[in-house]
């Protein structure tokens, strides 16, 4: 059994957002607010760095 390759991308957003895989198009339940890219797998944004100075 093969393993899916690790994504080369910095993944952002809600991991439960509606998407289709194969024949299945999952319908998400009501969700919490989505995190922006600066909140995920990233160092501080330039604005945050400025704020820390």
């Amino acid at each position: 059994m093969s393993t899916a390759p690790v994504s080369p991308f910095v993944l952002v957003g809600d991991p439960t957002a509606g998407a289709c895989e194969g024949d299945v198009c999952a319908v998400p339940e009501a969700r919490e607010p989505v995190a922006g890219p600066e909140d995920q797998e990233q160092g501080p944004s330039p604005a945050e760095e400025d704020a820390q100075r």
């Binding site: 993944l11 991991p15 509606g18 289709c20 319908v27």
Partner: protein, 223 residues
């Protein structure tokens, strides 16, 4: 003047979240306000689907996944409601479940003519809203002609599978990237956004990329 931000989108014509996600992305990109260059890539959710599947999407999903019809109907009703919230009038009663490889070939043909975005939108609307059959060459050629492509040229290219290799290249690239579901957005070759995210998510990541580019540009100038 700065270069537009590149967004690569893997998507299938019969993927409801791809159409809903397209609208949400467009709203997010509009809110971002900067220049964005979009390129669609092929993803076949169900490449073994026959072109002339005789049944409704409800029956198809029920058969393929072993789900009760009532459960599938409820799921499609919810998707239709979410589509409506972004201005899309899905009509699952008249959707023709089919194989989408020819539609993907047509999207690549349209790209070669600089009309990919128009073709993509036309195909999604044809499938989800208008109940058109996007698996038949004749119907696809009609849709292509509606956006101004040469109908005879489209028929010839689709029958000759001129763009099939491009479709398969996209599918292989998706697999290499570990993309298992669609829509999948790659922003500037760095950030990955999976699914029909809210517009603000797209706005935020586009702003992030713009900020990073500006910072890199400033650093280069300072040297």
């Amino acid at each position: 003047m700065s270069e537009p931000l590149k967004v690569d989108i893997w998507s299938d014509v019969q993927c409801p979240w791809c159409y809903i996600g397209k609208r949400k992305f467009e709203a997010g990109a509009a809110q971002f306000g900067g220049e964005v260059e979009v390129e669609y890539h092929s993803f076949e959710l169900s490449p073994d689907t026959p072109v002339d599947y005789e049944g409704t999407p409800t029956q198809y999903l029920s058969e393929r996944k072993g789900m009760p019809l009532a459960q599938v109907e409820e799921m499609l009703e919810r998707v239709t409601g979410i589509a409506s919230s972004v201005g899309l009038d899905f009509d699952y009663e008249h959707v023709h479940q089919t194989n989408t490889v020819k539609a993907h070939e047509l999207i690549h043909l349209a790209k070669s003519k600089g009309r990919q975005l128009d073709m993509k939108e036309r195909l999604l609307k044809a499938y989800f809203v208008e109940g058109r059959h996007v698996g038949h060459v004749a119907e696809l050629a009609d849709l292509a002609a509606e956006i101004g492509l040469d109908r005879d040229e489209v028929v010839t290219a689709l029958e000759a599978e001129t763009f099939l290799a491009d479709v398969k290249t996209d599918v292989a690239q998706a697999a290499a990237y570990g993309i298992q579901g669609v829509p999948f957005f790659v922003i500037d070759g760095k950030y990955g956004v999976s699914g029909a995210q809210e517009p603000q998510t797209f706005t935020d990541v586009l702003r992030q990329v713009r900020s990073e580019r500006d910072q890199t540009s400033d650093e280069s100038l300072a040297r």
